[in-house]
Structures are given as structure tokens and as C-alpha cells.
């Protein structure tokens, strides 16, 4: 954040060092402009109020992983305040957004490895790496909502190219503050801080545990004390780390080695971005405007199968198929989330490496719409294009996949099937309607899969159940 050492994760210990991130006597910080731009982008994506000036501040405490004895962070003047993260429910319905208290940037500490008997080791590679701190307002009302918030936030950060936001690599960390209060009380209860959360599951479990624990205390007539707890994953409990009677004494004051950051001109320009271009909005557009089923929309926005640089590749592909080439939204989405994703997950390829194009996808769905192709065969066609390449028409004809939909032919087929399976027809007439499926199966066999199963089913029902 304040020097030009690499921020890469996973390299041998103490190989990305310089006087600045080591905090050597006489060293001075220099602001990383790119980190500021990314921070501002995040603040704007979260609808924060962007101030005309931000200011770095020193936050003091003594610990071996903090080389200068203070962290250069931000205090009074962060990058953004008073924003919100738009969320969708599991049904992908819009839900009340979660408020964002503030967004600011700061530097990371070194990493400590506790060796037990022989002492602790310090790896300074991580020291000075830029961190983006996003603090939510106390709007989240359940453990599940917290996890949805974290997932959506992570998606936003990834899609905007701000961070890889990976909990396993330590590029996405969270601390939770939980309080409970009686439903008729306005004022928030005393909050308890929970640290050492290494997964979404830990977040969810720890919140539920704390809610239960605090509720018990209050029901007994006790008081919840402000404390910092550590989450014990194995035991599934929160454990006291220390009692904080009052806030820690960080002795914040403005960083004298860094002038104020004026947020104007090229910094504003370089962090500008299109508010519609955030994952949540894209998901809603897919559902509302393009008829994509809700479950599919979220999956499409997972970034799976897209070239690394563009997490929106899949959705843009789909939208092009729909808007430019007239694909049927639901069909196309289902083919993407089904066949395409399955292929991508299996082979490890990305969609742009295959022969499938938005137009081809559209052509397939159009054929299904015209009943020229069954949905089952549609999947097959797409699969062939993915695996081997080729044109839609060629594949359909070549593999004999043209669907028989001509009504006369179908009626003829159905009559044949009924004649050959009188026993089953009887059981259906007697009430076992489900057995129609078996007849549909026979029809499909007889037609070598080319019959339109839907129409066959309808015809069977008409002939068997309506004729008396």
C-alpha cells in the first residue's frame, strides 16, 4: 500500500521486502495510486458518499507483526461513507439492501507463525499489502443474511476486479459484531466481536451461536458484556479472548508523512464505473427482462466458464444470444446452466475456447421453439458443438435429430403404440394415469427418439382418457 513490493501470495518467506514495509528507521510511505482507485471503485459500487478529501491516519498498538508499531490506515476521513450493498434473496427477489458504514484502505500486517516451543516466526511478505476495509451498518438480522451479504459483496469485488476475495488465501477476511435486544426495544444491545472466522460456514455458525448465547444471558436477567471472542471451529463455540471494558487506545492522528488525498480529477475519472454493471443488477435484468429462471440467474453470475479477465463473459454471451439473435430466454439459460456448465466443469475449458457462439445457441433454441428439435436433443446438439464444433443444422441433420412433429405421423405412432400395449392402456383407463409415461417411452423407442414426447403425451391422454 505504501511501497512497490509485490503483494503476491505464497512466495518464500521474507522475499518481498524493502525499508518501507519492514518499517526500517528512516523509511517513509508512498501512496499506491492503484489501490486508491480500486478502493474508490468499491466505495462507488457500494453507493457511498464520496468525500472531497480522504486522509491517512496512524493507528498505534504494539505487536510483533506490526513493524512500525502503528498501522497507516484511515480514521476521520475515509474513502466513502453511508452506502449500501444491494442483495437478492435465495429466490432472487430484491431484498432490503444492507447499509455500508464506511470504506477505507490501509496496510496489512506481517504474518506470524507460532512454533510452540521454539518461539514465533514473522514473515513480512504480507506487511504493507493493501487492504480494503468495508464496514456494514447493523442492518443484518440473521446468520443467513450475513452469509448472503458476504457472498454478494465478494461477488461484487471479484466482478469489478478489485480483489480475488478468497477466504482460503486470506484475501477475504471478516469479523462479526453481534448484539441482540428485545423486539420492542429501539436501542441496539451491547455488541460482541467474533474473530478467527475462516469460512462462510464459520460465520454462519458463530453468529447463530452468539445469538443463542446472548439470548440465554439476557433471558436469565443478566447483562451481555462487550468482549472480543474467538471462534473455535472444532468445538463450535465462541471463546473469550479478552474483556474490553472500553475501546482499545489506538491514539489515532493524521499521518504526517502523507499529504491529504484530494478526490478529484483523474482519480475520480479512473475510478468511474457504470452502476448497472454490478452483479446484482445483472441478475435482476436476466430474470426480469430476459426470462431467465431465478435459479439459473445466480448460477450464470458465478463467473464459472468465463475468461479470467471478464467475469461477465457468460452473462454477456447469453444476453447477446437473446437480444441479438432472438434466443428464447429460459431455454437458452437452461442450456447454459445445464449443458454448458457441465462441459466447462468437466473439461476445465472456458466457453470462449469452444465453438459455441451466441448465434448458434440462439439457433438451437429457435428450433426447439418451432418444435423442430426436442429439448433433449437440443442438449445433445450443444454438447456436440462444445466437444467437436460444427454448425447447428449440420449436426441436427447429420445425427438424425430432426424431431417428428408432423401431427399425422404422431397420431399414427400413438395409435400403433396403443395397439401394441393394450394391457397398459387398460391400467391407465382404470386409473393408473402415470403409466402413460411407459407408453411415451415406447413411442420414443419406436421413433428412435425423434418423436416430440410432449405432443405424444398429449395425444395419448386425449385418446386414452377422453375416449370412452
Amino acid at each position: 500500500m505504501y511501497c512497490s513490493c509485490s503483494a503476491a501470495f505464497g512466495d518464500p518467506a521474507n522475499t518481498h521486502l524493502c525499508p518501507v514495509c519492514l518499517g526500517l528507521p528512516g523509511s517513509l510511505p508512498r501512496v499506491n495510486r492503484h489501490a486508491v482507485i480500486l478502493g474508490l471503485k468499491a466505495a462507488r459500487a457500494l453507493h457511498c458518499e464520496i468525500p472531497p478529501m480522504a486522509q491517512f491516519a496512524r493507528k498505534h498498538y504494539f505487536y510483533p507483526d506490526l513493524p512500525k508499531g502503528y498501522q497507516i490506515s484511515m480514521y476521520q476521513f475515509p474513502l466513502g461513507t453511508n452506502g449500501r450493498l444491494e442483495l437478492l434473496t435465495e429466490q432472487d427477489e430484491a431484498t432490503a439492501p444492507v447499509g455500508i458504514e464506511r470504506v477505507h484502505i490501509e496496510e496489512d500486517t506481517a504474518k506470524l507463525f507460532h512454533e510452540g516451543e521454539t518461539g514465533s516466526l514473522i514473515d513480512h511478505n504480507r506487511s504493507g499489502v493493501p487492504l480494503l476495509e468495508i464496514v456494514s451498518k447493523p442492518d443484518i438480522k440473521s446468520a443467513q443474511e450475513a452469509v448472503r451479504y458476504l457472498k454478494e459483496l465478494r461477488r461484487l469485488l471479484r466482478f469489478l476486479g478489485i480483489s480475488t476475495a478468497n477466504m482460503e488465501e486470506g484475501s477475504y477476511r471478516c469479523e462479526v459484531n453481534v448484539s441482540v435486544r428485545p423486539s420492542d426495544r429501539e436501542q441496539l444491545g451491547t455488541k460482541v466481536e467474533v474473530k478467527n472466522l475462516n469460512s462462510f460456514r464459520a460465520v454462519e455458525r458463530s453468529i447463530e451461536y452468539e445469538i443463542e448465547r446472548q439470548t440465554k444471558v439476557l433471558r436469565k436477567g443478566g447483562e451481555v458484556r462487550h468482549a472480543t471472542m474467538g471462534w473455535d471451529e472444532k468445538e463450535g463455540v465462541t471463546v473469550h479472548q479478552r474483556f474490553k471494558e472500553k475501546a482499545p487506545e489506538y491514539r489515532y492522528f493524521p499521518e504526517p508523512d502523507l499529504p491529504e488525498l484530494l478526490i478529484e480529477g483523474d482519480i475520480l475519472d479512473d475510478s468511474a464505473f457504470d452502476q448497472e454493471n454490478i452483479p446484482v443488477r445483472k441478475v435482476r435484468a436476466l430474470i426480469e427482462r430476459f426470462g431467465v429462471p431465478a435459479s439459473g440467474a445466480d448460477l450464470l453470475m458465478s463467473g464459472v466458464g468465463s475468461p479470467e479477465e471478464n467475469p461477465y463473459f457468460i452473462t454477456n454471451f447469453l444476453m447477446e444470444a437473446i437480444v441479438r439473435h432472438g434466443a428464447q430466454g429460459t431455454q437458452a439459460a437452461n442450456l447454459m446452466t445445464g449443458t454448458v456448465f457441465e462441459f466447462v466443469n468437466r473439461t476445465g475449458m472456458t466457453l470462449d475456447q469452444t465453438d459455441l457462439t451466441p448465434k448458434k445457441l440462439a439457433d438451437v433454441t429457435k428450433m426447439v421453439g418451432k418444435n423442430e428439435l426436442s429439448s433433449t436433443n437440443a442438449k445433445r446438439v450443444v454438447n456436440v458443438i462444445l466437444e467437436e464444433g460444427g454448425k447447428v443444422k449440420d449436426i441436427v441433420l447429420g445425427e438424425g435429430l430432426v424431431q417428428v412433429s408432423v401431427e399425422d405421423e404422431l397420431i399414427e405412432l400413438v395409435k400403433q403404440v396403443m395397439e401394441e400395449n393394450e394391457g397398459i392402456v387398460e391400467t391407465i383407463r382404470k386409473g393408473r394415469v402415470n403409466a402413460i409415461g411407459a407408453l411415451v417411452g415406447e413411442a420414443m423407442k419406436k421413433s428412435k427418439g425423434q418423436a416430440n414426447p410432449k405432443r405424444v403425451n398429449e395425444l395419448l391422454q386425449e385418446f386414452i382418457l377422453k375416449k370412452k
Binding site: 525499508p19 519492514l22 518499517g23 526500517l24 528507521p25 528512516g26 523509511s27 517513509l28 510511505p29 508512498r30 501512496v31 496512524r58 498505534h60 504494539f62 505487536y63 510483533p64 513493524p67 512500525k68 508499531g69 502503528y70 516451543e117 521454539t118 518461539g119 514473522i122 475501546a247 487506545e249 491514539r251 489515532y252 492522528f253 504526517p256 508523512d257 502523507l258 499529504p259
Partner: protein, 507 residues
């Protein structure tokens, strides 16, 4: 050799150019002085004469680097690559910087040869060099008196002829006051002129690096080659280069001079007043105009400075814990395992290292600073002290409309006796009364020798021991008194020409 009696980089460069001397001879003469005088003077923490010898080995004159081969002294809080730098503190004992301060790198680039790192008040905190962990340096004019501080070693070394130039750091007068106490020129540049990269921080918003020289022109040379952005210090301003020599001999016929009126109360020694009054008379005879100026918040400066500087110091010194550099007390306890040595836990480890590593004045300031920054007190102390700076700047901005420079004595008294200001910390702080206005406003200032005063009876007998010859080779029975000139931010050109005009007629 005459030139050695009044070492000056300009004169030496001229002799070098003409081929009349070789850097070897300069170094030999300087080494002689060091060996003769240093045991008494204690101006240096370490000598690097061998290194200097090596540096001048293949010297030939190069007009692009006219000062190459000339010795210099670096203050021991400025990082020198591969040469121990300990700020005269136990907690940094043995610290060898793996990088060079910008100022030092630029000096080395000019070809100067480092002959030693100078003693100082620990971490720059002090006005006498008595707060050095390695013992005080003495004043070459009177070995029973202090050379000033915190750059006392630098000033003493130059005054004793070890080298024609030294660099010091000025946070609350620490270049100007020792220059004044040793009869030399000391320049504090505008804050934001010279990079602080590699300067071991004391108070980040007040620290500057400046030269201590025997002539004003030398100071101008030094400023020219160390100033300017380096891509590492974000507080250095981007300004076009100025040629100080285009105007330095111009004289002050067009200069409007302000004389600082501080009521000249009891706290200004009458000998200083005598010298200063004479100085004022001189300006009256040469400047365009001379008038008295008052700083309304002058009385607040001492308290404000001694709130801000310790606050920033408590922050800048937080990194010294014995973990990464400097001696670590616990681990050094032989025969103990790491576990035993740190049995008291992390906090105990910190307490021992810092407790044993820091001297009394540094400890005092860290405590004051920590208090002033803590919640509940921040607004009342730190914030208010910062507001005094704003007030001061506003007042000065008004004054600068009517005057081009402001003059005052550099110190309120002549060099004082060793030990005389140690009983009450406030006594030491009051030595800084005239030199705080500049750090608190960012203005540049220079101290030149304004005159002399006789030793009082107290000092006379002590001096008898080295009465015949001082380190200069001159017979000295007087103490130097400094004249300070202050200019608006970034107006070093005016500062230098005013100082030069004065010097021309006084030295």
C-alpha cells in the same frame, strides 16, 4: 597550509581544481585534528577515516564534481549505507542501514568522503548533546560548555576542523542552535525542500535536514545538491531548481527587515542582547527598511511545540522493540532459552527492551506524547497545539506582506555550562525559544555568527587547561553568539543573500 585553518568547501574545491592540494592532504590534516582533539571533544560516535581514505584513492579533478575528495561529517540519525547509525541511542546500537538516506546518497554522489558519524542528543531530543547515550560532546571554544544540540557533534566537529562541512537535522532548532554555539553557519531549509528519506524520524512534521558550514556560500552549495524530490518522500514539494548563486552577493539594499520583538524579557541574556542590538544597527545601515515585528502567539510556541514533537516522537519511536534491529535485552541474557528469557511474556519483553534502550529525555517525551495523543486528551492537547501552527502561519502570512526577512538571536543565552540545564527539563526547552517559530510554520532560517562575548569568571579557570590553542589553532577566550534570519517558505534565496551580506562585513 592556510586553507586548513578556515576550512571551506569552496576554498578547498578551488585549491583542488588548481592542483595545489590533493584530497589525501586534506584528509591527512583532518585526521590529525581528529586524533588530537577527539579524545577530549567526543564529537563523533564513530570515525570512518579508513573508508574516506579508500573513497579518495582514485581521485582526479572533475569539474562536474568540484567537491569530490572533500571530507564531511554525517549526523548519526541519517542512514549511511553500510555504516552504523545509532542516533546516539542504546536501542539502535549496532544498527547498520541497508540503504542510504537521499541526502547522504547525494552528498556521496558529489564525491564527498565521510570521515565520521557525529554524536547527538538521543534521537534528536535535546539542546546540548548531553542526552546522548554515549556521553556529551563538548564545545571547542570552552570544554566546560555544551556545543548545543541535538546536532552538537556535527557542529563541534566542524568547529574543531575535522571537516569543512557536516549535516545535521533541525526539528526544534537542532542545526541552528549548535551552529550558533560553535560560531558556524547552520541552515534549516523550508519543510518540504529536502527529502527526509533515510532520516531516522523524530517528529515527522517538524524534521528537516540542513548543513552546518563555516561559510554562507558553502551552505548554499550544500542545499543545492541535496534538495529536491526523490520519489520517496511524499512531503517534498515539486519546485523548479533555483540558482542561489545568481543572487547571493546582491546585498540587501532592497530587503525589508523585521526585528522580532519578544519584549526582550529577562530570559534573554544581556550579552546576547548587546550583540543582537549591534546586529540590528548594522541592518539599519544596509537594508531597505527595518521595523519591529511581533508574533502574537509567540508565547504559545514553546508549549505547542513541546506537545507536538513528543506526540510524533512517541509514534515514530514505537517501532523500537529489539525485534528486528538493535540489541535485544532478553535474548542477550546468556544461558537463557528463549522461553526463559521471555518468561514474562511479550509485554515484559517490550518493557525491558525499551526501558533499557531509551534514555531519560526520550522516555520523558514518549510518555508526554503518548498521553497527549490518547483519547480524551487528543483534542485538548495535540489538536490545540496543531491549531497554534495554523494561527502562526496566518500571522506570519500577514507579516510577510511587510517584511522580507525576520531577524532575532538564535539562542537566548551564550553556550551554557555542562550540566546546568539538566535539573529541570524546562530549562533545556527554554533554550529553544527563538528557534521554534520556523518548525511550527515550515519557514526556512539560517544562523550565522553575530558576534562574541567574553567568558564569565566561571568558565575562565576551566578554559585555562586548553588556553594556549583551541582546536582551531586560534586563541579563543570568547563565546560565539548567533544571529538568526528567517524567511518565508521557499525563499532561501533571500535568506542566503541576507546572511551573506552580513557575513561579508563581519567575519
Amino acid at each position: 597550509m592556510d586553507v586548513f585553518n578556515e576550512l571551506s568547501i569552496e576554498k578547498l574545491a578551488s585549491e583542488l581544481e588548481k592542483g595545489r592540494i590533493h584530497p589525501r592532504e586534506i584528509l591527512r590534516e583532518c585526521s590529525k585534528r581528529v586524533s588530537k582533539v577527539e579524545p577530549k571533544l567526543h564529537a563523533l560516535n564513530r570515525e570512518t577515516l579508513d573508508r574516506a581514505q579508500h573513497a579518495i584513492e582514485n581521485w582526479t579533478y572533475d569539474s562536474a564534481r568540484p567537491f569530490a575528495g572533500i571530507p564531511y561529517i554525517q549526523k548519526d540519525n541519517i542512514c549511511t549505507l553500510g555504516v552504523a547509525t545509532d542516533c546516539s541511542s542504546r536501542i539502535l546500537q549496532g544498527f547498520v542501514p541497508p540503504y542510504a538516506a537521499t541526502v547522504d546518497a547525494r552528498v556521496v554522489e558529489q564525491g564527498f568522503a565521510l570521515i565520521g558519524k557525529s554524536n547527538m542528543d538521543e534521537f534528536g531530543m535535546g539542546s546540548s548533546t548531553e542526552y546522548s547515550a554515549w556521553g556529551a560532546s563538548l564545545n571547542p571554544f570552552d570544554l566546560s560548555r555544551v556545543p548545543g544540540g541535538s546536532s552538537g557533534g556535527s557542529a563541534a566537529g566542524v568547529a574543531a576542523g575535522y571537516a569543512p562541512i557536516a549535516f545535521g537535522t533541525d526539528t526544534g532548532g537542532s542545526v541552528r542552535q549548535p551552529a550558533s554555539f560553535c560560531g558556524l553557519v547552520g541552515l534549516r531549509p523550508t519543510y518540504g525542500r529536502v527529502s527526509r528519506w533515510g532520516l531516522i524520524a523524530f517528529a515527522s512534521s517538524l524534521d528537516t535536514i540542513g548543513p552546518i558550514t563555516t561559510t554562507v556560500r558553502d551552505a548554499a552549495h550544500a542545499l543545492s545538491f541535496v534538495e529536491g524530490q526523490d520519489g520517496r518522500d511524499s512531503t517534498v514539494v515539486n519546485l523548479p531548481r533555483e540558482d542561489y548563486f545568481a543572487s547571493i552577493e546582491k546585498g540587501i539594499g532592497d530587503l525589508r527587515v523585521g526585528v522580532l520583538d519578544v519584549g526582550m524579557a529577562d530570559w534573554v541574556d544581556k550579552r546576547v542582547r548587546t550583540v543582537f542590538n549591534a546586529n540590528v544597527e548594522w541592518f539599519k545601515g544596509h537594508a531597505k527598511s527595518v521595523r519591529e515585528v511581533r508574533i502574537g502567539c509567540f508565547d504559545l510556541l514553546l508549549a505547542a511545540y513541546y506537545t507536538l514533537a513528543p506526540s510524533e516522537a512517541s509514534s515514530n519511536l514505537a517501532r523500537y522493540d529489539g525485534l528486528r534491529y538493535g540489541p535485544s535485552v532478553n535474548i542477550a541474557e546468556k544461558g537463557k532459552s528463549v522461553d526463559e528469557a521471555t518468561a514474562g511474556g511479550l509485554l515484559d519483553y517490550y518493557r525491558k527492551n525499551r526501558g533499557q534502550g531509551f534514555g531519560p529525555e526520550v522516555t520523558r517525551r514518549i510518555l508526554i506524547g503518548t498521553f497527549a495523543l490518547s483519547s480524551g486528551y487528543y483534542d485538548a492537547y495535540y489538536l490545540r497545539a496543531q491549531k497554534v501552527r495554523t494561527k502562526l502561519r496566518a500571522e506570519l502570512d500577514e507579516l510577510w506582506k511587510n517584511v522580507d526577512v525576520i531577524i532575532s538571536p538564535t539562542a537566548p543565552a551564550p553556550p551554557f555550562k555542562l550540566g546546568s540545564a539538566l535539573d529541570d527539563p524546562m530549562d533545556m526547552y527554554r533554550a529553544d525559544l527563538f528557534v521554534l517559530m520556523q518548525p511550527m510554520s515550515g519557514c526556512p532560517a539560517i544562523s550565522v555568527n553575530g558576534g562574541w562575548t567574553d567568558l564569565d569568571d566561571d568558565g575562565f579557570s576551566k578554559l585555562a587547561a586548553c588556553r594556549e590553542k583551541s582546536c582551531f589553532g586560534k586563541i579563543v577566550s570568547r563565546l560565539p553568539i548567533g544571529l538568526q534570519i528567517t524567511a518565508p517558505p521557499f525563499r532561501e534565496a533571500d535568506l542566503l543573500r541576507a546572511a551573506r551580506a552580513f557575513e561579508r562585513e563581519h567575519v
